[in-house]
């Protein structure tokens, strides 16, 4: 694996896993990565933690930075929220996230 590239597995809403190669030196977040691979993640608000259309469940044991107040507030009003819920747009892709596994949460209106 070249430097500054990690592999992230995203399980879509039909339960299909997708292995995505993610650069870690471009300031990308998980929502942007999913969009760039054409996965059905809307990212309506552009990454400002305003819409929850990039809601994911984190399946692997990676230690992620704690959610900001904005993200917590958004998750509080989103649906299908579980203990491992995060907003993809708030997960910055870093080298330590090699092997990250997430699942897309169901879409809600």
């Amino acid at each position: 694996m070249p430097e500054h590239v990690i592999t992230v597995t995203v399980i879509d809403r039909e339960n299909q896993p997708h292995r995505l190669e993610a650069p870690t030196d471009m300031g990308l977040n998980l929502m942007e990565l999913c969009k760039s691979y054409g996965l059905p993640v809307k990212g309506t608000c552009g990454g400002m933690a305003l819409c929850a259309s990039c809601h994911v469940y984190v399946l692997s044991e990676h230690e992620l930075p704690p959610p900001s107040d904005d993200e917590l507030a958004m998750l509080d009003s989103a649906f299908f929220v579980q203990a491992n819920s995060r907003l993809g747009c708030q997960i910055r892709l870093r080298d330590e996230l090699e092997g990250l596994q997430v699942q897309l949460a169901p879409e809600s209106e």
């Binding site: 400002m48 929850a52 917590l72 169901p106």
Partner: protein, 347 residues
Amino acid sequence: MGMNAKYIETDIIIIGAGPVGLFSVFEAGLLKMRCHLIDILPQPGGQLAEIYPKKPIYDIPGYPSVLAGDLVQNLLKQIAPFRPGFTLGERAEILERQADGRWRVVTDHGTVHVAPVVFIAGGLGSFEPRKPPIGNIGDYENGRGVAYYVRNPEDYRGQRVVIAGGGDSALDWTIYLADEAKSLTLVHRRSEFRGAPDSVEKVQHLAQQGRIRLITNAQVVGLSGNGHLERVTIQHDTEGALEVDTDYFLPLFGLTPKLGPISEWGLELQDGAIAVNTYDYSTNLPGVFAIGDINTYPGKLKLILCGFHEATLACQSAFKVANPGQKLSFKYTTVTGIEGLPVETPA
């Protein structure tokens, strides 16, 4: 048209009064075109004013940093000489072409706007209430028990009410309606609330006094009733389901951006955005342009500064639509200055 409905004629109807919609007024004004803006929000500025007025923006050319709210104020100052009109707090519902070739935009309040040109600068769309994923919730909307806003608190006097949510709006209405309603139940998915600490304390106090019923770690998952809501089913994380008889259910989960009625206007859409020709940001409807975050094209970037550029080019084509046969000569503001538009005198 109703007696009170307003009728507005202009050169360009701009749907969306965010930064890109506002700047369009300037570029249109330089070409002597009048503009009228429509926005669902009660004030101009779009997301910048509504959601992040205090956030600094770093990529507006010439401003190392500018607060979103200040940028809106500056734009309003910049366009003031061109005397734009505003229809605020109303949602553009209908876009249709008249027999004379001009476009007619009608709002949910019945205000009618007519112009040869329409700019759609709708950003993320309109901010609409987030609806919980309960299959039959639509059956109880529109006066049949489910409401996403409290429009008139009087409606709930002496009624049984269930509120869901954990933010300020859910807490504030719980506190307010505790005195009005016959019974009030607040359901929240978690045990902590994210609202203002003072409101959280008040709600907990009301619960301790037995004036409201507080059910945390639970969600409303089902609705039933014959024609009107009669009962909600609440699923508790650990204690199973319970049924609560009620007249009203108010899910207060905040707002989420939606394309809304724009998606029904016959515009060519691509991934929830309006497809445009990058020559002039025109859509598939003649005389209708889409600029800013709401449009898409190869290489699109959702940036305010790109929206300003799009607005500028769209105005050049808009001039030709609004002034058929007239020649347009390009002038720098540094050469000609800004010549505002006169006060409009009623016809």
